[in-house]
Symmetry: C2
Subunit: 873 residues, 2 copies
Amino acid sequence: MGKKFVYLFSEGNGSMKELLGGKGANLAEMTNLGMPVPQGFTVTTEACVKYYEDGEKLSDELRDEIIQYVKALEKITEKSFGCPKNPLLVSVRSGARASMPGMMDTILNLGLNDEVAEGLAKLVGNERFAYDSYRRFIQMFSDVVMEIPKSNFEKLIDELKKEKGVNLDTELGAEDMKALAARFKDYYKKTKGTSFPTDPTEQLIEAVKAVFRSWNNPRAIVYRRMNDIPSSWGTAVNVQSMVYGNMGNTSGTGVAFTRDPSTGEKRLYGEFLMNAQGEDVVAGIRTPQPISALEQVMPEAYNSFVDISQKLEKHYRDMQDMEFTIENGKLYMLQTRNGKRTAAADLKIAVDLVEEGMLTTDEALLKVEPKQLDSLLHPQFDPASLKTANKIAKGLNASPGAAYGKVYFTAEDAKSAAARGEKVVLVRLETSPEDIEGMVAAEGILTVRGGMTSHAAVVARGMGRCCVAGCGDIAMHEEGKYCIVKDVRINEGDFISIDGSTGYVYLGAVKTVEASISGYFELFMKWADEKRVLKVRANADSPKDAKQAVRFGAEGIGLCRTEHMFFEADRIAAMREMIVSDTIEQRVKALDKLLPMQRGDFEGIFTEMNGLPVTIRLLDPPLHEFLPTADDEINALAAEMKIDVIKLREKIASLHEFNPMMGHRGCRLAVSFPEIARMQTRAIIEAALNVKAKGINVIPEIMIPLICDVNELKYVKSVIKQTADDVITSSSSSLEYKIGTMIEIPRAAITADEIAAEAEFFSFGTNDLTQMTFGFSRDDAGKFLEDYYDKKIFESDPFARLDRNGVGKLVKIAANAGKSTRPDIKLGICGEHGGDPSSVEFCHEIGLSYVSCSPFRVPIARLAAAQAAIKQR
Amino acid sequence: MGKKFVYLFSEGNGSMKELLGGKGANLAEMTNLGMPVPQGFTVTTEACVKYYEDGEKLSDELRDEIIQYVKALEKITEKSFGCPKNPLLVSVRSGARASMPGMMDTILNLGLNDEVAEGLAKLVGNERFAYDSYRRFIQMFSDVVMEIPKSNFEKLIDELKKEKGVNLDTELGAEDMKALAARFKDYYKKTKGTSFPTDPTEQLIEAVKAVFRSWNNPRAIVYRRMNDIPSSWGTAVNVQSMVYGNMGNTSGTGVAFTRDPSTGEKRLYGEFLMNAQGEDVVAGIRTPQPISALEQVMPEAYNSFVDISQKLEKHYRDMQDMEFTIENGKLYMLQTRNGKRTAAADLKIAVDLVEEGMLTTDEALLKVEPKQLDSLLHPQFDPASLKTANKIAKGLNASPGAAYGKVYFTAEDAKSAAARGEKVVLVRLETSPEDIEGMVAAEGILTVRGGMTSHAAVVARGMGRCCVAGCGDIAMHEEGKYCIVKDVRINEGDFISIDGSTGYVYLGAVKTVEASISGYFELFMKWADEKRVLKVRANADSPKDAKQAVRFGAEGIGLCRTEHMFFEADRIAAMREMIVSDTIEQRVKALDKLLPMQRGDFEGIFTEMNGLPVTIRLLDPPLHEFLPTADDEINALAAEMKIDVIKLREKIASLHEFNPMMGHRGCRLAVSFPEIARMQTRAIIEAALNVKAKGINVIPEIMIPLICDVNELKYVKSVIKQTADDVITSSSSSLEYKIGTMIEIPRAAITADEIAAEAEFFSFGTNDLTQMTFGFSRDDAGKFLEDYYDKKIFESDPFARLDRNGVGKLVKIAANAGKSTRPDIKLGICGEHGGDPSSVEFCHEIGLSYVSCSPFRVPIARLAAAQAAIKQR
């Protein structure tokens, strides 16, 4: 016999997520716990993998197995597929190992055809219900399985409403629904050339295939990439007997969390809609009632739900996100899963669960997704500015944080505006999975319809974007690219501000300020710091950044880029003078002007860091980056510098490079113009001496970028050492300093043993190392990497997540080689990977000393480092 | 006691080249053989290295040791430093491990001062000789040690000649020479502020230091880089008691080879000048007599020299290049070394020495420098064109081969013209080491003065440039940038042609044809082929190249670049149409036009290769390389293609890349546009089937460039395989083909085990691999690599000579990893390193299957592979 590809709910359990998907495993677990779950079966993720291996074909064996399980389900439910007298109807839902809300497709009411619909009407004594279910099924099946857009059917509904002279769907009666079902089937036949399938088994097989296919729809691919979910996992399919929340006023459906997903507060939190099917709540079409109201309406069902929800939370030892349906007063659980929540709620819940004795601190630390912390650190509105801000509307506080930006009304427009560098607020009637890229691009999201569990709210919280949902005051005119809020017209490109913590919407841009960090956050991070081994530093180029970094818990600066200092208005002139110099003397003269400014910067940074280590990288970018490119700017520069414009043009032309990324930059500049390194060294050492004189212990770490050969390092090191020692000697003081290098070129990694003999520390520059190891120019790769994701050649962006297999291997080789010649070498990483949890874990595993990342990512790195340490034990 | 830094000639021997330098070791060896060598001592190369380690200082210990050896030399020669009655005079010459002719400095007659000069005059009874020697010494010492240009002294000579109303130096008498010495000393004092040093010991110490310094003069650095000589070696200094060829008509000096260095013919070959010092011959100031003439003039000395030269050749088992001086009829040997020779001579001598029983074939193969073979393969004049060519002059046939080019009169002008892409003939009065870069840039060299052993002749032969020397028919007007040959005026930029094998000079550009390969060459290469393990293929993109490659012994094509085929006039239009396509359909339509052309190319290549393997690389460069950049060209293209010019500009702009080297190229194109790979595969397979139908066995090897991840390879391979199998199936014939990949990205090397699972062969693209491993853009690195050589960070160009330590390590890792998953994987290299002997040796050592290089370098690679195999045994 072959592998088992289908499991009854009663055959599985909660630990079988890999095989049954999250939803399937939890349905099995609830079944085992004796909870009221409509029974069904799960087609495994392995079946999906096989479907793709077989060239997107469903094997005869699998088909037979599914049919066999339909029979088993018929036995359990005592209903029968296609039997008008007692029909089995099922829902068909995807369910991957990781939750991918709304990313894949669902079909309800499967099993209906003309006879069954008629039978159902008689059985429940509700013809309108039966035919409404039928027409919905035709619509969903056509959309999901046959790719006929839902909206085409909506048009048919609109036509019928016009004929009938009514406005609302609810005004359509039983006969109308019956007519609609007929018109839908006609439309289907016209479009597809074949009749709508009437055999429930055929319907089911096609639906299963459609769910498998939906694993690779573009939305799902984007979502997986964003969430690091491998495409090899596949999705399971859950086939579950239907229960109906839309059978009248003793029926309903809802979703609820065991704790408040916004704040983490311990209280049942959710919404329900009477006389509705599940999708109605999530889709945000009608605005639902709070869950607490259910206590009045149906106390028995409510109490039963409260009881179950508590049991589930204890059982899973985590806040649960549950879906339920009440059919004629009887409660059914349709789903439970660990609930998505805001970062603030996540921390509070983790800390509370420890205090409630449900979790150990290790477990609590592992529960929190480090990337979430980011949103805690993001700005709130400046209270002063808020006082005078023009409040124009209020919606639901769906995802906390404050943002302002230019209004765009489509995901596409938002995406391209953000690509142009604009801050964007995406305003939509309601969002759908198609909008995902626009939501990523936006600072904040504002919707007209939908509740706290609508798509916009759930996704925004997951991404840490602020979101105001269900703001009914807005009248959308999407096609005209404007909206009207009360009597204010807001055009595309106008500024608005939204506060996802309060739900308020403001006209214009309201100033934001940084978040404050304390309470749960502080306690939680203290736990993390106790567990981790890896040090966390920040990349900071100014005293302001340095201050921010310390505030977020940085234990030093791992990368201080000196070039940013040169772009300031008062410095760029001297910098340009330096670059266009023809002789060393001219160059030194210009550098002498820059010296006091650099020294000042370093003094500020050393003072802020108050004794913590500071690694300063010498000038790195190619010099042409400092020169103007536009004609008028070049003319102006020539005039300002009193040099011949033709000569200046020649100079600029001579600095042009075909591949600047691999050009005259990094230590190559110091080799050609050692006087630059001399000036920078002098500024660093003088600043350190000055700050040391004030009683702060400074041990500057001078870092040489872009080394590819130990001889380069020897040369530049000798230039630095000579200057530093001269400055120290003539100060008649003393100062310790270190000289080290970036490892960011493959050859440096390969020859790291030789390089370590000359370097006191290595800092892995994984941005450049990724570029050169892959041969990808980061500025250009975006264009073709889309094709790589589409064709599943790559699953994650190697610039965001360290490529362990290639770049990581080089880092590991270099770390070991470095230790072989200098056992006490300090090893760090300062690429953007330093703030990526998966990459931090890797750095821990291979025994680096520290990671360095942007200040806002420092808490993420601290938690990721703690998790890595806990996992390794 | 410390290390011994000085050796008497009698203390050394011929095997001590590393310590004593080539010249010093050979002087010691000749001393041991009992040959008449003026005695002296050698300051070792280690002393030079120490001099640099000590910060360019000569230690007191070394100074003392040198003085001690002067005393020993005084004892041996029974002469005394600074003693007017019986003065010891010495020459001070550099002598590195490898011969660097004329690159470093020499001082003769050291030990003279006013008293000694007067004493010498009395001693030899020749006042003019004594003061001529004295003024020459002052001039040389001032130039070499104190950096006062020689020409400043020449001016003083000219002044005196004017005063005296004479034209030639020889017309100046003893008193004049005495006056000159005095004027020279005055000029020295005026320039330097101190008197000319009179203490012979001081003169000697300063001279030794100057020779050490000359190791790092710019000429020497360039020469070392060209010849792969490490700067760490240092030079030795030879201090030798003077003998005089300028003591009258029974004195003379000369240089000679034991065989003809142009042809290899076994006969004494050389020149001498009566009554002259050594430098006069080499400098080419007077035109000397052939060595055979010496037999009449001084038969005793001649016979003695013939005898010694035969002994030396037998002793060293190689053709010798000797310097001698006859002082008052007595022969002295000043130097012997293995003589430089043309490639043709090199081969003939190697083969002859084997036939004379002096060498084994292995020894003969190791004697020949593979790079030399290059010159054998270069063009000769087309006999037909030569008939009507306008012969205007004849000089010495100093270095064989034929060339035409535009005339330039300075090394600098020649260099910049060549950089502009012009073919250049460098025309000089005589060349000096300062001209070296101009000589490198030129196709050929023509000099007015100097003999077969003049600087121009020696260096040109070494480089394989053709050279006509001593062409006295030319009247130079360098300042006016023209010359007059008989009554023809030749301006800068005019074409001339020169034949280094005949010595003829022609006006205008005479057509050249390829060299013919046979005789010694064929026999020698047969020996090489018998020894080597490594296969040698060629890089060839057309049937013509393929034919050339086979002629030079290529055993297949290792790299056929398909993109060059697209640049031809009739194809570029279709190519551009393909690139600007918006849809797959448009693109396929354009590709369909290219298909028959590509197929034709491949048929031609397969036919030429007649069953030898052919590796074809799919399209590699970024598409924007095929589009025009100039405004008018873009407008023309838009008109021609009947598309909107604005749209075309947008398309071109969208293809712009910041770092095209790391951009959308190689297999990344095939991922985005699989239809291109499909068309190319179809062309290859159809061509192979067509050629196979004619009875030629073709197994095409399809190569995918720029792979960085196995998933890329899987994807593109599946595209190729599907197309290829479709074509083969529908042809109802059968065909074997292979699919492999370039390894040219660091990540591919690191993950080669995974990649080999999918690739039937690897070809290391060491050009790109060097770029990305170093992070050097080849197009840009030239600018800063000069600084790297100047500062001795790099000693050789990693693009010319494979960097074993970095790139080589990656190649080795990849080769081993590849074999680990596919033991029979075929491994080759197709970067330019494939024709570099040192790199070929490396490829042999790490067990690659073949190297592939340009057709002209195939013989070089064959010999280098043989040498590697012999050395490894």
